[in-house]
Amino acid sequence: MRRFTSVSLYGLLCVLLIAAAQGQWIDAYVQIIIMFIGINIILSTSLNLINGYMGEFSVGHAGFMAVGAYITSVLNVWFFTSSKVFGPPLLTPSSAVYLFPVTLLLGGVGAALVGLLVAVPSFRTRGDYLAIITLAVNYIVKSSIENIQAIGGARGFMGMQNTVNSMKESWNLPWALVWVLVMVGATIWTIYRFVNSTYGKGIIAVRDDEIAAEIMSVDTQRMKLVAFMLSSGLAGIAGGLFAHVLGYINPGTFTIMKSTEVLVMVYLGGMGSLSGSVLSAIALTLVLELFRPLQVAKWVVVPLLLILLMLFRPEGFLGHRELSDVFPRLRRWFSPQERQS
């Protein structure tokens, strides 16, 4: 029974949080913070797949997030609500409860396809040049959205709150929170399974020595494709959730600043460390919330934090280690199967 411990613990945590939200034990503000933490966990773990495990340097994660956010939002507003842009709903608002996850996934798929823009050049380009490509994609996405007037252009897009409300009407639950928790669980599970399988470790081989990997029968192009598309797809899902938590998005949200925020989380937690990314996403979300009164100065403090980190502890909290490596006792909570012999 032990092998299910970590999963059931997370399930218990989810039930508790949902119950707390439902019973009004935690107020709306705390709920929003929890949801932001969840979204940031998805973002940082998915970026860690590229920057940590595969050793590439992506600085455009917010771009993929934007794609997911816009696709999911547009689909939801178009299908389930009556809006000025798209007119009356195509489907009954009550079906949102069932179809919301589908729109989330479609947002993820869209983002994964945009991820191809980075994945394909990555066959030939590495290092800082690839970093520039990711950045260019970030700008291209933002600039494209700004130029599509139908979805609000630079003014932004709203109406997602109505979908959340109509989900609530058909079944009274804090749906945004529910889906954030579900997606966080699914993300961590997926990435954990992937990087602990021989298949997924192929991307670590690519990081260590790409030529050796290719010649030792690892299909490096395929692995890059899988890693980039998985990472950007998850970022897209995070974007979809983000849009529905906030209820309003605009292209200005998804700039290099947002990407930097996620980068800080990845490097703070440690490259190639899943638990590190989770911990630092929690820690940094809380810290940033504390810094909110600082306003602009926040954006001096955060980069400075990262610079100091690069200088004094470049490997982060847990560089290439997991929490269970530092505290072996934790291991009994996890399934022992992967750590053979």
Partner: protein
């Protein structure tokens, strides 16, 4: 059908003729050596054969299949594995993982299988791990399974790299200067290892080597390259007497006339 057949393989780098009109036929079971002075194009030959470079001219047939247009991992997947001149192990992965990941081509499952832990995934992982375990044992590396390659002594790193190539269960094993940087004791071990691998794994071996002790005592056939051209082939005894080979290595026999 021969195991490996190379016809008129030529490769230019810009104006430089790195390999010219290289021909070879391996029926299977041989132990062939490829020697030549520095810069003769030996590693280029290996890079061409393993698909890392495309030949400018000529063709390479592995078990009758033309490897033109295949990517390196596909060529390797056909049953041809190699090692590198300077060891290229994956240093942040354990010794055990090094031996598992090299079997990537034969995994036969994808992303969704890992996520959903499908039957295919479990079976494949089990098979891969068994192969790795067995290899560790036969190579005497079991003790180091959870160690990182960079912490291993040099001789064992070489051994591990050869093991990694063997984990693919290749029909042809290409060894690029396996004795480079080894001390005399390690060289003796290596000679033993090569002979033993050949017997144990029934694999055809083709090696590049500078170390004459290794070449002369291990190889049955030797091919000599100089400036990309084949200047001699034959048994070790024949090569030792070959005038062109001696010339290439030691220069002209004629005495140098003082001005």
């Amino acid at each position: 059908m021969s195991l490996l057949e190379i016809r008129n393989m030529t490769r230019f780098f810009g104006g430089l003729r790195a390999v010219y009109d290289f021909n070879l036929r391996l029926e299977g079971g041989e132990l062939l050596g490829l020697i030549g002075p520095n810069g003769a194009g030996k590693t280029t030959v290996f890079n061409l054969v393993s698909g890392f470079y495309e030949p400018s001219d000529g063709e390479i047939l592995f078990e009758g299949k033309n490897t033109a247009g295949l990517r390196p991992h596909q060529v390797t997947g056909l049953g041809m594995a190699r090692t590198f001149q300077n060891i290229r192990l994956w240093n942040s992965l354990t010794v055990f993982d090094n031996l598992c990941i090299s079997q990537h081509y034969h995994l036969g499952y994808g992303l969704w299988d890992t996520v959903l832990k499908t039957h295919a995934y479990r079976q494949s992982e089990q098979r891969v791990k068994k192969t790795a375990d067995r290899l560790l044992e036969t190579l005497g590396l079991s003790h180091y399974a959870r160690e990182y390659p960079k912490n291993l002594p040099y001789g064992l790193q070489r051994r591990l790299e050869i093991g990694r190539a063997l984990s693919l269960q290749p029909k042809l094993l290409l060894l690029d200067e396996p004795a480079a940087g080894m001390n005399p004791g390690e060289v003796e071990d290596l000679i033993e290892l090569i002979r033993w691998i050949r017997k144990e794994f029934k694999v055809t071996i083709w090696l590049i080597e500078h170390h004459m002790r290794v070449v002369m005592s291990v190889c049955e056939q030797i091919k000599v390259l100089d400036f990309g051209e084949t200047i001699g082939e034959g048994t070790p005894e024949q090569i030792k007497k070959n005038r062109r080979v001696i010339q290439a290595y030691l220069g002209d026999e004629e005495p140098i006339h003082d001005a």
